[in-house]
Symmetry: D2
């Protein structure tokens, strides 16, 4: 193994991940990656900057943009937020009308500049850039085969496998890409560009979100629709499972790499936690879906209390839904410091014991003497939940009733979400009563799978399971899992 | 006049103020400054770091901390957020048990490192550091007198006047400070430190907030109570108007510099807009007060609609109050990008015309086809309101009813809030109907002064006007305004 | 083609190359690259830092170090000087006992982080890092063949070819490397490391310098011996042409990849211009060799004058030799500003026309009214020489006699020195008289090839041409030049 | 006392002073400061940038420029080299035609941004900026008096005293400045600017160098003439002792603040060590003067040897003079790494013991087996000399004869050169024989005072002691030293 040491990581002292802080204080799932593509706009890099900025919540670790003016690639990648990686001069030097961009989280230990996407390759037919969100289940196996026949790799990213498969093929780019996508198994959204073309693909089950919009004559692609709104582009449609779109001088060529029709299985956690509340997926707004999860939760597991509060930011919508349904007032019982970020100095253990908070505080005057319903989206290891319940109790809450707007999270994700080992998932081995005790709550309830599906897809969803992947809840993985001996968790992008 | 050119301002290209962006797109009032003091804690600088971080919303332009170990000062000030100005090595080099810290906004054109506080002086009796929030109305006059008798100034900050008055006095520090406070007129919270003492003062009307807490044996002072919660300190009480507290080896000496009892007049805008929702002032929680403003608004100016939405972040609480009172569902009709910040590259005019949003977007799927009640806290010039109403309309809202949870803002503030010239205040010269037309709303209503006072202070508030300064609404300034010919707006800190 | 945009290049505005500035003001040959290797020392990265620092003159554009602790690679590369790329924390994080490091110049247009060495690869047998100084003449041809059979490349550097050839081989590392070196044609010094081994190779003619030293039990390798002195290591010997050394747990294994004995042909420009004056090559000190060039020049082309001056820094030694031989006093007629560097802001055209100097000035009081002998090491395009002659004339020199301590530079280098196209080389198409007129000198003389060989290798040098490559002077290239259609100039490292 | 903590100082780890490194390895005298002024040129800030760059050797710690466009000041100051403190945008924002600039060293412990010059003040009559090189002997006394009557100070710099004296005066600026200069005692070159005027003054003995030039119609002032050559300005004359020049719209007004004619006493160390070799002072070129010191030394203390070498950079000229006079060849026995700088990571004690060199190396192949004459300019504590002698011995020198081109340095400087306490000056308490033993030399000789005067001023110098201050050698201080109880060493600028 090899580690590139990035200077920022070192001198900022304490690296900070929104939602996944140090020392187990926060154990939220890490968000994955976001991709953004432009075809046919003279300001491709600027649009990418604003588009990636809108997708920033999907990956705060690195950012990159590659553009082509039809002749050659210009690209820049760096560690940090979009606004930190790019400055004005940089952006204006990235001239061209085709571009792909990427924001990224990584699994722990692999935080390195080399893995920052888009990945850039030179091969027989010229330049190739690749950006992806998701995970290739059989990448280690393919990689081993490629290495056996002499391939060398620059990154630990599975994304590189696609480039090798394309370069090894004697077919043209589009046919080679089709073969490559048929060879890999997983959940992914892929953007691939050359100096002439942009290729856009979604895995056969549509596990990861990817949508298309138009801005004038230009085509825009993004992991979430919020990026379209930001740049003033008009939403056209979601990319279908198994689709391979090709854009070139003649325009958009629709097509598929996989002719079979598989069960649609979009990641349920996108609705529960990852996506921005103003994004739409499958025609449904995320904020609205979360409010419905809260309402449904109120019906499934009502408890009498004085106030409802949500764990910011992701559970605010659900908490409002719960409050509206029950008539219990929604209050600001917990508050997050919005200025916390990568260069923030974490408090020492000693100061933490004296009560210095990291970024989440309970609002004493709101919760003191109150019976609190605390809405959260998920419980992973249980440590964060316990910590927040205790924050509320220390601030004077007399009762804390925890309501989780998803079913118990029991199984790792193999499609791009960084989940801990199954043994660390508190719900994989404990009953709800046990979890309730561990997190020190007065009561605990999870949303039922049916409740979740109904809240997201409506009562009469035609698709199996509402078109959702619920594997982390029900162990029903939509793809085969030919791991070749080693389980691989997390995001390969 | 002289301008220090700060490197950050230049190479980041576009400086960004939360709430007060460039080119008139956002015309919110600028928040003022925040102060934080520690006496008697070995980790004074770390506590200040976390405390100032909690007060960051009060000033994003510069930050500074001065500490003393009883022998000498160590200090650092810089342009930017607390987390940008300080790194770990820096913080650990600031050893000592007495400290004062400051976060700052400045009036336009005066954005310079030299003015960053705490200001440090050397005088007859040794070292002196001063941090303040507020404005001294007669500072220009006093300054002119001091200059006439040979004083030289390093900054354009009025805060420096206090140091000169103290240095010119032949009395001891505390007596000299008393004289100085009796000489100045304005609204302020002052922290002054030497190598042995910490002095804490609030103006005779208590215009600016300042509270005291204890952390073990140490005393903590902060502009808002949210800073106490962050560091685990226990709230003791608010500093009273006209108080001058002195802390030294023997502990806390309570006292007053002004024996007269004046009308209490805490800035109403702190409740309406500035303070963090989890802060308490005068025993009342800000989020709760804002919810009551929203409820009261619902009673005063109900309108039938499909959804209620608040302008983030400051009007969310009031919007929830309005929704709870009326039963109209609260929805996420507007969303702010939380990653926007100082180094963010502003879109070009061309891109903006193409629809690239800066930081606020309307959520199409939420507002499309809906009659929207849009709650905001204030209207200054009207340009922002017009822009947001139009965002909602472009996203498909059929009606937009604007409800402002404060009375019309007609008069400039002389006590530390950066307000534009009276002529630029839209409410100073236009009727509500005219404003409604200008901002392109279907209807517009402001909260009544009585409604505001009741929401903040309750129905039976004993103090005149609920103990609030309402001058920006009713032109009734609590102090004399001896400007000596030149009006001075904004914050002198 | 693709360009990675490096942030430093952009925001510093004007990139500066020592000896090869912007806008044709300086047209010195660009130095090439430097390599430094450690095997068996616990502080490998720190030694590399100091060693590369001593080799900094060989490449100011990027720097990189890769270390292994026997388990995994840790590496960091960046744009800029060694001291800019590495900080203390970074360096201490690079723990391990095997390391290779690199400093680099690049040919114009290819200034990118991606090409910064050491290059790191992952292949069948694990991790591989490569650092090189020199150029592979047939790299484009091999690369094309590799691409045809499906290889993808990350860089435009020829160095990557070696890694592919090794990865494609089914033999073990050492045998695969031998095959690879036999396949490539060129002038190079190679350092290759894995987690267990260090491989050290010099091309069959020894075109580029590479020496070995010991520091306790550890082995040290460097492009120049000055790096040994800096770290206190004891010089052992130069690496022989065609050698392939292998270091592993059992120690040093001497061997050759090419059993044939070829003509030794070390680059003459190393003596004339590139190497640090305190380095030794082939047992001869560079400063001493340059003094002998100056002395010989005095014998070959004496001219009566009042003072001798050298163009700093590289021609000072030769100027002193000329002065000692002739008795004409050596004076400081030209001075270079030592603080100039990468972030230095170049004067505008307007200011330059007003007389603002970039980095070289004539010393008026020294040269005024004097007949000056100006010693320089080479003339490439002639523009720099003309400029310096004019500087001296403007400062009052009555005569300027230029003496160049090398023969006319007529032919491009294919072994690692960045030379312009043959048509731009002034000596390729002009007589000495014509050059003299163009550079505005009163007289001009070049050192004879025999004079150069004698000054470097002594009167009785056994090796053909004193063991030197003189191709840039006499067009006699020691290797075949199978360019496959496209001439490639400059350094491939 | 108070310390501003500058971020650069902290995160670069090891601050580096050219000539005065950490841990006693180098104990050269610290250079002082440099000033540069422009009156009447539209590109005043750019000229200042290049001028200060040429003066960089006089102060590497901080740099600053203040310009006026006739209306207001714009200024920027920062820690580091000129090229580090200013970037292109910064420079172009500093528009105006009057400017003063400063580069600075500081005495230990006072390395802070606050003290960076030019100092900027606001007083009765407007803006005032001050830049100085030198030291005010009675500044502490005046400061105490000012503080007693209520003045507050921002810096620990004596320069601030002048601003207070001017501000306290009821006279106009020029008269007030005259009074102020008559009140202070010391050695100094002062530049003072307002929005209309530039004032230029030299102390009554002319202890610090200051010269005037013209660039078109503009006037230029600089500590050394090398700055004129750099910007293409034409030298006019040196500023005379006791002169006060005033530049305003009407042009240059010549005049004096002190009508008495005092003994001229320019700092001899400027010739020996500080000034750039291409600068002229009193009509004499520094390189030439140093060569004459070397020649004279050869006559006074000849020793038979094989080679002459100079300690770089300052003693190269003298070594060449010694070599020319004796016929012993000048060789490069010692070499300095030109890339070392502020951010360079110092080797650990352990690595240093293993032989890692900081920045100076002996060239083994040059000195091995040779009898070496080592020329240096001065001996302060003796530690550096001992270290260099040992470097030469370790590299194989058989004999090392040290020749110092100045008399023994016995007395502290009170006029701007940072000298250690008298007890630390090795020559103050030891005989030449004792010093010779301590520095481990085979022989040691110092230049005689007469020899020094002759080398600098010629055989028939009219002025007393050749117009030089030789106090550090002969204890004859040209001014009174009314220290008021506390000795003050070093530079107050």
């Amino acid at each position: 193994m090899s580690h590139e040491i990035a200077p920022q990581t070192l001198w900022t002292g304490d690296y900070y991940n929104e939602g996944a802080g140090k020392e187990g204080l926060f154990d939220k799932l890490k968000e994955e990656c976001g991709v953004f593509g432009v075809f046919g706009h003279p300001d491709a890099s600027s649009l990418s900057y604003y588009g990636l900025h809108a997708l920033q919540h999907r990956g705060e670790e690195s950012a990159g943009i590659c553009v082509s003016d039809g002749e050659e690639f210009r690209y820049h990648r760096g560690m940090g937020l979009v606004k930190e990686v790019f400055d004005k001069d940089m952006l204006s030097s990235l001239s061209g009308s085709i571009s792909i961009g990427h924001v990224r989280y990584s699994t722990s230990g692999d935080s390195k500049l080399t893995n920052a996407q888009p990945l850039i390759f030179k091969y027989r037919a010229g330049d190739l850039a690749v950006a992806t969100n998701g995970n290739i289940v059989n990448a280690p196996k393919i990689r081993r085969e490629l290495e056996e026949s002499g391939s060398i790799f620059q990154t630990t990213s599975d994304t590189e496998v696609i480039a090798h498969l394309i370069a090894r093929s004697s077919k043209d780019l589009v046919e080679a890409a089709k073969d490559a996508f048929n060879r890999i198994v997983g959940g992914y959204a892929f953007l691939i560009m050359t100096n002439e073309k942009l290729l856009v693909a979604s895995d056969p089950h549509g596990l990861r979100p990817l949508s298309m919009a138009k801005l004038g004559d230009a085509y825009i692609f993004a992991s979430e629709t919020c990026a379209f709104e930001t740049i003033g582009a008009e939403f056209v449609r979601d990319i279908e499972p198994g689709e391979l779109l090709v854009l070139d001088r003649e325009g958009l060529h629709e097509g598929r790499f996989d002719e079979k029709k598989h069960r649609k299985a979009l990641c349920a956690m996108e609705y529960i936690y990852f996506a921005r509340p103003d994004s739409d997926m499958n025609g449904s707004n995320q904020h609205a879906a979360r409010k419905r999860m809260g309402s449904r939760m109120a019906l499934e597991s009502f408890v009498d209390a004085d106030i409802v509060t949500g764990v910011p930011d992701s559970s605010i919508s659900a908490a409002i839904g719960y409050a509206e349904q029950t008539g219990i007032p929604y209050e600001l019982g917990l508050i997050k410091n919005k200025y916390t970020g990568r260069t923030f100095i974490q408090p020492s253990q000693e100061l933490r014991e004296q009560g210095v908070k990291m970024k989440l505080s309970a609002v004493r005057r709101v919760v003191e003497g109150q019976r609190v319903v605390m809405i959260d989206d998920s419980i992973v290891r249980g440590t964060t939940s316990r910590r927040i319940v205790n924050l509320l109790r220390e601030a004077g809450a007399t009762e804390v009733h925890v309501r989780i707007t998803s079913p118990p999270f029991k199984n790792p994700c193999f499609y791009g979400i960084d989940t801990p080992d199954r043994r660390e998932l508190i719900a994989s081995s404990r009953s709800i009563e046990e979890i309730c005790r561990e997190i020190n709550a007065d009561s605990l309830a999870f949303l039922s799978p049916e409740g979740l599906i109904t809240a997201i897809a409506g009562h009469n969803a035609e698709d199996h399971k509402g078109g959702l992947c619920m594997a982390c809840f029900d162990n029903d993985y939509p793809t085969r899992l030919d791991f070749d001996g080693e389980e691989k968790f997390g995001c390969s992008c």
